[in-house]
Symmetry: C2
Subunit: 758 residues, 2 copies
């Protein structure tokens, strides 16, 4: 049956879906020391358990980390996951090792025994690796690469299918399309090797047989016949899915292959759990296995490559096949070998075919109205005549001037450095809140499946086996009941509940009319008190009177508060130091003291210089992208200085503490000081009991404590509870300005998934 | 020890707290038939269990309902609870009976056996009532009244205490104050009897001894020696708390009283669990037992009486005692008897003393800066010379012209009528949302302790024994976990969760940039689709295109949606009828169809007349104070008429349905139709499974169903889920426009407190 896919793709109700697709990446890397030797350590135990870890595995050797992304609906999404998994892997390895950025392994140990097979739990997995070591040799297995998993969009396939009549089941139709793509991929694969081949030379210890090795440099050892591939007698036809499946199954039956997965073609057709499922269930996606690691991309692959691969996959459907299937594929094999083995700087004989491919792709992009990809195609097309601009070309320029080892070490260290630069962030998800980034880091590290349900809303789905949890803001979970945050959100209700349970809360009244509130003046006239709107949270509309108030000031404060809410609270002002207690599951996990933005004089530098110096602290940043904010020198800060008789050019005396803000918020440059270990058990018990009275599992509760050296006493209350937060920030406890960091996000994770931490 | 309380009260830091106080009411009423005969039925079983009911009990007889309020921090609060408990009691009794509004019982049965002692669970309670029947006679026990429980504010007492030095414990100080108040109350009690006495005549069957009965009318039979009181040999001194306690305990020991509670003085001092506790724990509050039922107040007592009683209690501290304690009290007894036995219209000899009391009260109010009470005092003072304006005076005016029975029947029926007028509301709490009013009704009916933590926020606390539950909006409870409403609040997340679980949701995309959204035009150009802001809920910014859209309209719709939110959704528009499924604990409790505001023609009346007619429906009201809203005839409705070629003066044909709105919201006059029983199990299972996928216990889920006669099928989806609501309205299911009402609030209560419904 013949169908014109080009025509189907061009139909108006198909076109808008042409670019819908799903992507998944698997990326291997060798773990090495900072001087480029194979790591002698085991896979880090902090990375959870390899028996289920969905993202971070080991491939052949104990040193060969394999990073796996979940399936993404877009290239960006997939790359973000890869970036995150990378970040987690590198930071988990620690800063004494790094990931080798090249496909070709680093200098390998002299003795085969020093290449350690991955220490997996399942004995059958170890046995398979032993078989591979015997069959192919350990050294060949040490090569790394990227597997690019590609699925044509569900809607695209459905719409193509509904636009034709030749096939009567969607599965059969999809099989035909995927087989065409597979054959064409093998036919035009040389172009991928040309553009993205990145294994020009080998290190000492890779080729053990002096006779049987190529003349280096070349474009891609890995994609040439010198790379890691099946023996000559492994032959599979791509004529049809049935033939493909049958060939592989026959080879396994005859013992030519030990198992299906030993079939190492550059293209694998995937669907179902095993080969036998394929013809029944149909092809679900295609696995492209021939991408070398790009050392110039921190993650081994960049967005442009992914975009090109996507367009290329669409082109493979778009373009016609010119010869019989097997011959078509065989031609492709020959062309690829020719390109792979050529010198990285050599001009190629296939420029005309290359130009034809690009011009067809350009035509396709135009016809299908695909947005903003022409520039990308032009750039790559130009490389057809500029071999030194291809990846292998760029690599050879560096290797020739320096060495392959140096190339690997320099880039490896750079990428490692990036991962450690901001340990409180997670690459790929830097737009999310820090607490969520840290939580994601922990979840990925321990091997929970994570899904971002809504990035702007910090909404995550976690999964381990059948246990699903939804988490928002890293602290809103199924651990708490619905009513608990509603209690805490309502200051009046919180106070009532705490008071009824016997805790000290500021005495006060709620008012809904100005007149009524005015009449209460006599009660507050001579006391320390606060006027605040009932439900705003960011300090707006709040007036504090530490020593009574005049009638005029009182009424002004009421008006201010009523501007923000229809209900206001007048409360006694509690004197003392405010501490944030982070309570989790009836345990105080962290206590934080927040100090207003400040600098300490040295008798030499000006305030401005001291601020600049303090702002170099690695934890300071802006817009909530770091655990601490940069100290500003704006109007409010200058006013504060003025009140202390200072200007920004004043030179404070040695050890003089200069405050730049009255409020202690971290968001206005305040310091976070972990004081967890400085507190008596009595205060911790008090906080735990108060949170229990509110019924909360996760709560940040703010206590005013005049003197923490005196143990807490519920009866003679030497404390006051001023607020309970249902969405307490966690990052400030994890990365405080001083004191010990407390791994709160990991603690929440442990509570959600005790079974993973057993 | 002598202390000048007047002086203490006048201190500047005491004065602002002078009026702080707590109040509680207990009110008895006889249950009678509509013609004023004692009810023959048992206490209604719908009113939960009398073994623990905190609000609705029976006193001596099975017909004598006792309504009890919780302790309130203000008169208003206490009266609101009384109103609510009243409402619940009257509606639970049903409309075949009513509460007798008079203190004196209605005509009593000839035979003592027909006066049934309350059928209580505890045998000791029954035994005590049998003893009372023997000792005092059943008929005397049938009198009803109000017990006014009064506590001086905690802060007032503390501040008074701290303003003096004579007493060194707060308890001792409070005891002295309460004893003074008690003595002065007994001394000036005649004024209360004069103003509020309301038992001028008895019905047939009350006095059985023809010799020993007063000449009627008088001011208060109940407060005279002909009322229900202890025998002559019961004598208690009010000299000190110790003497008071000792006297009562001695009488119980000597058998003069059967138990402490048989001491029926007009004043009781309360604190601790029993008399023995009193001297140890101190007096907590005072119980005033001499208020007759005021038949002119729907609840037997009105706010003015409460206000006067409050001022009077303060006055009793303020004013000096003039004689020795026991003589002072004895004088009061004599004066009271004189007033109680006098004719309601008679001028009294005590006007001078009355004037002195009022002038002292007025002085107190002025000195303490008590706000807005002078008018009240003046009004009551005037009654000193206008006996016909007192309650007994007003009653006698009516009784003389008609009869006591008629007085009771007329007012009893009126108050019953009020309770049934709007059965979807709860008196006292009409400012709260209807669902919360209904929920409160149910909770009070079943005898759960309820506390309003925040009225504006519909925040309740419920308690049964040690089991506390917090409830907001009658549907936000501890039954759901925190994350569940957050899932439902987020349309994108809801759809993802439902889709991953295999349910049909509208296909669509989320966009955060106009440019990006514009590019998706090709996908929607020819489809039925909706553009909406991601997180607003009230239809604002939503555009519906039932048949594709022009590029211009498309972009306009995008702009509209982006005005409301930074994220917008474009979704396929599902065609069919929308139904609200209310799912509770894995069960569909109600299904509702909402029809846009409409009238049905009769060929005679104009649209305007038909609307006016439809608006007379008892369930229609305005501003969400009724289950259905009045249909408007504003701009939108006229436009809608115009589209159908009609005007408000047009006369629609018989059976012609004229829609006045496009949207089906109940809030714009739509009809709510309960269709729970019209649905196949398959749809109910579908809704239950979808809600389970979201993890919710309480959820209103909206399904689009093209044809409900075809059973639901998850695989060939003949439905679509368009929204899941975490705060679903309940009142519209309980009181639908047509179809069966579904008691959802009671269902929620059952789920929260299964132990109460066992």
């Amino acid at each position: 049956m013949n169908i014109n896919i080009k025509e189907l793709l061009s139909k108006t109700d198909v076109r808008p879906y042409a670019m819908s697709a799903r992507f998944g990446l698997e990326k291997e890397s060798q773990r090495v020391t900072l001087d480029g030797a194979l790591a002698k350590t085991d896979h880090p135990s902090i990375l959870g358990n390899r028996s289920f870890h969905p993202y971070i595995q080991t491939d052949f050797s104990e040193t060969q980390i394999e990073l796996i992304t979940p399936v993404g609906d877009s290239i960006i999404e997939t790359l973000r996951y890869l970036a995150a998994v990378h970040d987690v892997a590198i930071r988990s390895i620690g800063n004494g090792e790094m990931l080798w950025p090249l496909s070709m392994p680093p200098r390998l140990p002299e003795n085969d025994r020093d290449i350690k097979i991955a220490k997996l739990d399942k004995y059958e997995d170890v046995l398979y690796r032993r078989y591979l070591a015997r069959e192919y040799g350990k050294r060949k297995q040490m090569v790394s690469g990227i597997h690019f998993n590609f699925e044509y969009g569900e809607e695209l396939m459905a719409r193509l299918y509904h636009s034709q009549e030749a096939y009567t089941t969607l599965e059969a139709f999809k099989n035909v399309l995927y087989m065409k793509a597979a054959r064409n991929y093998l036919r035009y694969r040389w172009l991928i090797t040309y553009l993205f081949g990145a294994s020009p030379v080998s290190e000492w210890g890779y080729f053990t047989d002096k006779e049987n090795r190529p003349t280096e440099p070349l474009r891609s050892i890995r994609n040439s016949s010198f790379g890691y591939r099946n023996r000559e007698d492994v032959k599979v036809s791509y004529v049809s899915l049935e033939k493909y499946t049958e060939d592989i199954q026959t080879m396994v039956e005859n013992g030519v292959l030990s198992e299906e997965k030993e079939f190492y073609a550059p293209v694998r057709l995937r669907g179902g759990k095993c080969m036998a499922d394929l013809p029944k269930k149909g092809i679900r996606y295609i696995e492209l296995r021939n991408l070398d690691l790009n050392p110039f991309a921190p993650m081994g692959i960049d967005e442009d490559t992914m975009q090109f691969m996507h367009l290329f996959m669409l082109f493979l459907l778009w373009t016609d096949e010119k010869e019989k299937a097997d011959e078509w594929v065989a031609t492709g094999e020959l062309l690829n070998e020719q390109i792979a083995l050529s010198h990285p700087f050599a001009q190629i004989a296939l420029q005309a075919e290359g130009d034809r491919v690009f011009s067809e792709m350009m035509e396709m992009v135009t016809e299908l109205g695909i947005y903003g990809q022409k520039e990308l195609l032009t750039t790559y097309q130009e490389q057809l005549r500029m071999p030194e601009m291809t990846i292998s070309g760029k690599m050879w320029t560096i290797i020739e001037a320096n060495s392959n080892t140096e190339l690997g070490i320099v880039y490896g260290k750079e990428y490692q450095g990036i991962a450690f630069e901001r340990p409180y962030q997670l690459a790929g998800f830097r737009r999310m809140e820090l607490s969520t980034q840290l939580f994601l880091f922990d979840a990925i590290q321990k091997g929970l499946e994570v899904e971002i349900l809504d990035e702007n809303e910090q909404f995550l789905k976690l999964k381990y086996q059948n246990h699903v949890e939804y988490v928002k803001n890293a602290n809103m979970t199924s651990l708490d009941t619905y009513i608990v945050p509603l209690i805490m959100e309502n200051k009046t209700v919180t106070k009532k509940v705490l008071k009824e349970a016997g805790f000290r809360v500021p005495e006060g009244d709620e008012f809904t009319s100005l007149e009524e509130a005015e009449r209460a003046y006599l009660k507050y006239e001579n006391r320390a008190f606060v006027v605040k709107p009932k439900s705003t949270n960011y300090g707006v509309g709040i007036s504090i009177f530490k020593d009574g108030a005049s009638g005029k000031d009182y009424i002004e404060a009421l008006s201010l508060a009523f501007k923000e809410d229809t209900s206001i609270l007048i409360e006694e002002f509690l004197v003392g130091t405010e501490y944030r207690f982070f309570v989790l599951d009836n345990e105080v996990k962290a206590i934080l003291l927040r100090i207003p933005a400040n600098v300490v004089g040295d008798g030499v530098h000006t305030v401005e210089e001291l601020v600049a110096e303090k702002n170099t602290h690695p934890l300071r940043g802006s817009n909530h992208r770091a655990p601490l904010e940069l100290i500003q020198l704006g109007e409010l800060e200058r006013l504060m200085l003025k009140e202390q008789g200072l200007m920004i050019h004043s030179i404070p005396a040695k050890d003089q503490i200069v405050y730049l803000r009255e409020n202690s918020n971290i968001s206005t440059g305040g310091d976070s000081i972990d004081v967890t270990d400085q507190f008596d058990e009595s205060y911790k018990k008090l906080a735990v009991d108060a949170v229990a009275a509110l019924g909360a599992k996760i709560c940040g509760i703010d206590l005013i404590i005049p003197d923490k050296t005196i143990p807490a006493n519920k009866e003679i209350p030497n404390y006051g509870i001023i607020e309970a937060n249902f969405n307490p920030a966690m990052h400030m406890h994890i990365y405080p300005y001083s004191g010990t960091g407390r791994p709160l996000t990991m603690d929440v994770l442990k509570l959600l998934y005790p079974e993973v931490f057993k």
